[in-house]
């Protein structure tokens, strides 16, 4: 099932969705088994920003029908902290992954402007540990991420500005919260992106339950319409969004020539197969890894089994 993606040779088409798998924490929790049976053919870092971010106040999670709403708020050490502390460690883990065969490391970055993104991309360009760069222009929890990604014109500008600063594969992660995602994908391709990835989470809202488990009201008195999440609105992921993702990935793959990384609600090899069947080159697994840290490997095996048939 090996597949080539923007010049990278991957053992299979399954990778992780940015921000859904912390390889450092997972290694601390699961040890060497994680590296031996590393679930992904490439590893995507969570989103890195120029300045350090603490992330949103809790609560950050809400369980929706067949899905999860998150409002994490992109906590990260900032570019310098990432390059200094995390990148070397991640690079080491990636090189040891798959019993030493190693997996490429993709770094996902987000900036509020073309200037910020350019600095982030330039810094990544300078680091040989980084095999590819993913631009997050789609995070619904951060105003700018949304705005840039939802507007084809702005998106094209930003990608054009960034493109010259790296020779590494440049993946643009699109927002699903837009009228015509294929138009955005087209804009990214026209601006020189090597790949587009989608979907990010769908904008969603969860309200604080009027009463908590004990029957007593957390807020002290019913406060109608009070958002549960510290970040107010959040992003929906998981099985609930799978068919929406499938529609958007199909629309994008039909529009652009560059390879597409499809994701959204994938739980099984059959789900991954469907994204590939509508034109994705790679499939990313996010929320399902929360239910099973080894889900990516299981899905890759299931995919191979179906595909051999």
């Amino acid at each position: 099932m090996s597949v080539s993606f923007c010049g990278l040779e991957l053992a299979h088409p399954i990778v992780n969705g940015s921000g859904t798998f912390d390889a450092i924490a997972a290694h601390a929790a699961f040890g060497e088994e994680l590296l031996r049976d590393f679930p992904f053919a490439a590893y995507v870092s969570k989103t890195i920003t120029l300045e350090p971010r603490a992330g949103n106040p809790p609560p950050r999670l809400w369980e929706a029908s067949a899905g999860l709403i998150n409002s994490i708020g992109l906590p990260n050490k900032g570019l310098d902290g990432y390059l200094r502390d995390d990148l070397p460690r991640l690079a080491e883990l990636c090189s040891l992954a798959r019993a030493g065969a190693g997996v490429p490391l993709v770094t996902n970055v987000m900036g509020a402007s073309a200037t910020e993104l350019t600095r982030l991309v330039a810094a990544c360009e300078a680091r040989s540990e980084i095999a590819a760069i993913e631009l997050n222009v789609s995070c619904p929890n951060v105003e700018t991420g949304l705005d840039i990604g939802a507007d084809p014109r702005q998106l094209e500008e930003v990608v054009r500005a960034v493109r010259p600063h790296t020779g590494k594969p440049l993946i643009v992660k699109l927002t699903p919260n837009t009228a015509d995602v294929a138009l955005c994908a087209q804009a990214a391709e026209d601006a020189g992106a090597d790949s587009v990835s989608l979907i990010n989470t769908l904008r969603a809202l969860a309200l604080a339950p009027p009463t908590t488990r004990g029957g007593s009201d957390r807020a002290g008195g019913r406060s109608p319409g009070r958002a549960w999440l510290g970040g107010a609105t959040g992003g929906l992921s998981g099985p609930a969004v799978r068919v929406v993702a499938l529609a958007q990935v199909a629309a994008v793959a039909a529009r652009v020539q560059i390879p597409v990384v499809g994701m959204g609600g994938v739980r099984s090899g059959a789900d991954a197969r469907e994204l590939l069947d509508v034109g994705a080159r790679l499939v990313a697994v996010g929320t399902e890894s929360f239910l099973d840290p080894a889900a990516g490997g299981r899905i890759a095996r299931e995919l191979e089994a179906i595909t051999r048939v």
């Binding site: 921000g19 859904t20 798998f21 912390d22 450092i24 924490a25 997972a26 601390a28 929790a29 699961f30 040890g31 088994e33 994680l34 049976d37 969570k46 603490a54 992330g55 106040p57 809790p58 609560p59 950050r60 999670l61 809400w62 369980e63 929706a64 029908s65 067949a66 899905g67 999860l68 998150n70 994490i72 906590p75 908590t212 488990r213 004990g214 007593s216 957390r218 998981g238 099985p239 929320t287 890894s289 929360f290 239910l291 099973d292 840290p293 080894a294 490997g297 299981r298």
Partner: protein, 271 residues
Amino acid sequence: MSDRTSARAPFGRRLLSAIGVDELGAYRVLRVADDGPGAEPGQFAMLAAAEDWGGGEEQRPFLARAFSFARQVRGEAHFLLEDVGPGTRRLCELDAGDGLWVVGPLGRGFSAPVAGRRAILLGGGVGIAPLAILQDQLTAAATTVLLGFRDGARAEGAALLDGARVASDDGSVGHHGRVTDLLAEELARDRNAIVYACGPAAMLESVRAMCAERDVPAQLALEAGMACGFGACFGCVVARRGGGYLRVCVDGPVLDAHELERVDEHAGAPV
């Protein structure tokens, strides 16, 4: 029990089977056939029923749920459950032989008491669970057990530990009032102690404050809504003293009281 290096979980979820669910007053004790590594007191596992997990009007549960190891005996792991929603309800209904998806043991457990200090185990409600396995392993140190409950049915949970002094909000059992009243007494009597606490956020917060005041070391086992339990989602955070956040699942669930400015309202066991 080690010093902050905790047992490692097998990678990936494991399909284990339920041995049975026993009543314990208002609580249930879920017994699972578990040949996995031993858990440190304070560590937890993410559990989900292999069948009939989700659906219905709410279409929940979807994610696995976190539960402290309450005990480990001869290939059995015990979990103390309180039915507070669809996930715990489903787990309370497991029959012998039913499949269970388990990830764990996870997180950082309690650390060993400083030699010479008395260990005070202070639990509230279902939060007594990790104190039971802690007591099992604290054989050496002198221990005092203080448990608080909302009512008599819940107070039956005290049977999980030996020699507990009990307090109940409704006065139906033991001291009529808060378990922290008992802690005040104990610390007044002898402060040369270390407090291991798990329970509702409000309780943990007063334990933190009392111990800080009296400058008694305290380890607090926190809770938080969790999606993954192994540091992947960054969803389970609590504010760290001095800024930033800690992930309860990997930096905790047991935290040194000094790591927190205060215990957030979301960071405790079901009230």
